[in-house]
């Protein structure tokens, strides 16, 4: 399973609600107040959208940078962290970017996804 940096950044933006332009490689988690809960949500987005399990390689400590996370995830995916299959297919078919619904308040629905 190959993941590009762009795909990881997109998933990180979706998982955390940050804008992609805010996700600068040198930025530390502490600087943008990214906590372990939001990183766990990011890992779930990757699992749903790409069938990749990465939770164990994400270091949520404050000194970690965005670049550290992207690198770790890309390497983990390349090393075989992929669990492609039904989950990923479902993600793309019903919960992926194309299938994302709008909530009652007009915000991309995360209450029902992932």
């Amino acid at each position: 399973m190959q993941l590009t940096c762009e795909e990881v950044i997109e998933a990180l933006a979706r998982g955390t609600g940050m804008r992609e332009e805010e996700l600068i490689p040198e930025t530390r988690l502490a600087d943008v107040e990214l906590d372990s809960l939001m990183l766990a949500e990011f890992a779930t987005v990757l699992a749903v959208q790409h069938g990749v399990r990465v939770a164990e390689v994400i270091d949520p400590t404050e000194a970690t940078t965005i670049g550290d996370i992207v690198t770790a995830v890309v390497e983990q995916a390349r090393a075989g962290g992929a669990h492609a299959g039904a989950a990923a297919q479902e993600a793309h078919g019903t919960q992926g970017r194309q299938g994302r619904q709008r909530t009652p308040t007009g915000v991309a629905s995360q209450g029902s996804a992932p």
Partner: protein, 407 residues
């Protein structure tokens, strides 16, 4: 000692619009905001009153929107409006003495079907770690506290469709007792989740007027057949009048009386004699030290259900022996925002006192003969209004009644 509690800030997000002015203008336009709802597509009842003009990202940080459900977006936005209206700027009050009490009728049900499917298939690693944190009712009050730095008492009241009323009542008591200097209080709910809609449909509570969504919510009309799901939030800033004057805040209205009661009868049906509502009305009037003839207008619960409306109308007729004052039912226009509905009524009652006008009840084409009330219909009615009563009821037999007065 002055027992009144002042309302110094109002925040409203409703199907009529974002803000108190938009909501008031929408109510006075005499139209229903019900329409076919894509979120309910394919369900037996596929229409609702949505807060269509509300874009959460226009009012809140994207990250907050990402990790919370719509009822929290609505609550936060209404709370921000209320705080601004009350000039509640940083330093205006001791944060330790600012409370937040919100009413939310049930957990947000938006994400549960997805979680349930993952549980069934054993795909536990695909369940969002936010599934619980984004949906539990207490998160609305918690997020408001975090965003506005309110470090006093913080909790959520759940009494179904009376939740927002009871939250305001508890908040009123926190001010009266001296526990808090200020409390942001009200209710929030988005009832448009498919699980919520199908549950109410199966219960037989919703109107099935799919061919005419705008005509579906018709409280006190003979052709009513159920309520219309809605969403929204109302948050108000409460404080002692003296506290408000000392910090230069404007007092919009005062809460003079509050009554709470239970029917102690049935899970979903009101007591046929309206005994719980009658008790709450009596308690609120006694609390306000007023009589029925002092009330100039009633904003009724009026959901548009065949049984509930008649019981409420009969109760009002029997309680106000000299004849009830003009009555309106805002759910005809806004739909039923469930846990937020009572707070929306109270907030709009404050607007009624401000504008000296009663918004109309929409869709009363043929008033039910069993409803012996002066229902305001079609257009707003201007009149001298010093005292307004709101009546709200919820599943479980909960009732909340308020008496509000001009300052």
């Amino acid at each position: 000692m002055n027992r009144d509690v002042a309302v110094t800030g109002i925040g409203l997000v409703t199907p009529a619009g974002v803000g108190a002015d938009a909501t008031w203008d929408g109510l006075c336009s005499g139209r229903s905001f019900a329409a076919t709802d894509p979120a309910l597509s394919g369900l037996p009842v596929d229409f609702s009153c949505a807060a269509g003009d509300f874009d959460a990202c226009a009012h809140l940080p994207r990250r907050t929107v990402r990790r919370t459900d719509p009822f929290i977006h609505l609550a936060l936005t209404a709370a921000q409006q209320a705080a601004a209206d009350a000039r509640l700027t940083p330093g205006a009050a001791d944060p330790d003495r600012i409370g937040v009490v919100l009413g939310v009728g049930s957990n947000s049900l938006l994400g549960y079907p997805s979680v349930s499917r993952r549980l069934d298939t054993g795909e536990h690693h695909l369940i969002s770690p936010l599934a619980l944190a984004r949906s539990v009712p207490s998160m609305a009050a918690g997020e408001v506290a975090a965003h506005l730095d309110c470090r006093g008492p913080n909790f959520t009241v759940a009494s179904a469709c009376a939740s927002g009323g009871h939250a305001l009542g508890v908040a009123r008591d926190l001010i009266r007792s001296g526990t808090c200097d200020l409390v942001l209080a009200g209710g929030s709910e988005s009832g448009r989740a498919p699980l919520s809609a199908i549950s109410f449909t199966r219960m037989g509570a919703l109107s099935r007027r799919r061919h005419d969504p705008a005509g579906a919510s018709r409280p006190f009309d003979r052709d009513r057949d159920g309520f219309v799901l809605g969403e929204g939030a109302a948050v108000m800033v409460l404080e002692r009048p003296g506290h408000a004057h000392a910090r230069g805040a404007t007092v919009h209205a005062v809460i003079a009386g509050y009554g709470a009661s239970a029917d102690a009868h049935h899970p979903t049906s009101p007591h046929p004699d309206g005994r719980g509502l009658r008790h709450a009305i009596g308690t609120a009037l006694a609390d306000a030290r007023l009589g029925t003839t002092d009330v100039d207008h009633i904003s009724a619960h009026g959901t548009s259900t065949p049984v509930g409306d008649v019981i409420e109308a009969r109760t009002l007729r029997d309680t106000f022996t000299a004849g009830p004052p003009p009555v309106t039912a805002l759910k005809s226009s806004l739909g039923h925002a469930l846990g937020a509905a009572a707070a929306i009524q109270v907030a709009c009652a404050v607007l009624t006192l401000r504008h000296q006008a009663v918004p109309p009840t929409v869709n009363v084409d043929h008033q039910d003969e069993a409803v012996d009330l002066d229902i305001v219909t079609k257009v707003p009615r201007q009149r001298r209004i010093r005292t307004v009563m709101t009546t709200s009821c919820g599943f479980g037999g909960a009732n909340a009644v308020f008496v509000l007065r001009t300052p």
